[in-house]
Symmetry: C2
Subunit: 304 residues, 2 copies
């Protein structure tokens, strides 16, 4: 990360963490076990990329970070739920996540399923709370809920996960199956859709106009796809320990950018997406776009 | 069912079904597999109790059935997601539901988990759509979302499922564990919370006043608990075929009203709850309460 970006993150990530901590305090009727299971994965050392994108989008549209922290937390909850469910034995069957045992390894499969369900459900309650706090008009309030639901649902993140599972043995597929198209379509939904929704949520809360909202969403789609390509590449070339993952993509013989195109071509595709992302936001936000531009660059340069 | 109640259901259940059918049409970016998996469980012969409670509550508060069909569908989606996840091998491990193979038996565990996730997420999108259609003020729109989220989440339905899992070996528990209290607390959350939220959703959409809303929610809590007691009793005395369940409660040595109190005492407890339910709504709604009163009676008298 550049010093500028590092400073940006280091000021906002603790705000997200503090909000999550407050939101995850014990509540009447809430079993302590599930609170612990949800917290375990929420506070597992995530970089808070998605919530910071919500904050950055809001700030670019004139609304301060403190005004969107609950929506930012909601986005992180949805992301975390997806990681917990993706790691389950019936799905990717991963034992490690960020160098720590996965949720189901610690709390058991049943509790991990419920912790994911609980986080997803709570995300909508918390996002609604943010709209209430800002006294957002009804149309925008409901837009916020629907933007999150669409990004996370069966036309977004869940769709991507389904398509990913179905492509697992893509090499055995009949002709007519286009792996390049399938791969892009998987990641536009599995990773990019929620990243785009994170940015759009910030824009909605700031009551931004249509063009700014669309540009931020498009920027999210582009960096989301680049992020996934970079992830695929890291899965092949990255040091396992640094990454804290067990390299299950290769074990499962999955369709990935690295396996389909090779590392170098995959990297140049990611770079092209990042260039498009710059072009999408710079005209609308000028110098204020710096944080999102540097963040886009960082996504393809990071080593973990 | 009484002829009156039968007529009430037979006019409204098809409206719920038609709404669900429309909502479940293929959508861009939505894999056909998950659409089929979600539809399989949504159209598995459920009685549509919860959505009809949403409709009944709205009608009692002066809003027509057609105006709340999407919220009613959302409630059924949340209920269906919970059944799919509850049946998973890691949870209750049930092979049959309403006489048909459970979702994971047909579509596999991974798809069943995702079908549940997809239904839960879609429910919020659809509920938000209902608020948009009615041009509901922001506060009520967000109340609707939060009422559903709280009923379904870790202080409601998910909490009940967690508590239920944890009580599985209750007989082995240390002293200090109060089985009667635990049992009530499980079912107030596992079953009654979403039933109460279903009714409250109808009241919110009808912009009912506080006292009506509270009474309908309380009625839901009471019949929800009675419903679960009746279910426990049916699990013991009911004909397996008629019920279409494989009787896993007994196999798992679960804490149930029947196992704790015996059938007769459990039945009289359910009857007392139903009497309270009558008292809760009759003063506020007068003759219009008939449908909810008959429905309450039906819950403890049904044989499947």
């Amino acid at each position: 990360m550049t010093p500028f970006l590092l400073k940006y993150f280091s000021r906002r990530a603790p705000m997200v963490d503090a909000t999550l901590k407050t939101l995850m305090r014990p509540k009447p009727g809430q079993p302590e076990t599930i609170r612990r299971a949800m917290s375990y994965s929420l506070f597992a050392g995530g970089k808070r990329l998605r919530p910071i994108l919500t904050i950055a989008a809001a700030e670019l549209c004139g609304l301060g970070a403190r005004r969107v922290l609950k929506a930012a937390a909601a986005v992180e909850m949805i992301h975390t739920y997806s990681l917990i469910h993706d790691d389950l034995p019936a799905m990717d069957d991963d034992d490690l996540r960020r160098g720590r045992p996965t949720n189901h390894k610690v709390f058991g499969e049943a509790m991990a399923i419920l912790a994911g369900d609980g986080l997803l459900t709570y995300a909508f309650e918390v996002a609604a709370d943010n709209a209430k706090l800002l006294k957002l008009p009804s149309a925008q309030s409901l837009d916020l809920i629907q933007t999150l639901a669409r990004g996370a649902g069966t036309q977004g993140m869940v769709a991507g996960q389904v398509a990913d599972l179905e492509a697992e043995d893509w090499k055995a597929k009949n002709h007519g199956f286009d792996p390049a198209k399938a791969l892009r379509s998987i990641h536009e939904r599995k990773t990019a859709a929620l990243i785009a929704a994170s940015l759009e949520s910030g824009a909605i809360l700031a009551q931004a106009g249509k063009s700014k909202r669309a540009a931020l969403s498009r920027y999210g789609q582009l960096i989301g796809l680049a992020f996934q390509i970079a992830d695929d590449v890291l899965d092949v070339v990255g040091d396992k320990k640094k990454l804290g993952k067990s390299g299950s993509d290769r074990q499962n013989n999955k369709l990935t950018y690295a396996s389909l195109y090779g590392v170098e071509k995959a990297q140049s595709q990611a770079a092209a997406l990042i260039a498009s992302a710059h072009k999408t936001i710079s005209p609308l936000f000028g110098a204020k776009a710096r944080v999102l531009n540097e963040l886009a660059d960082h996504i393809v340069q990071r080593d973990r």
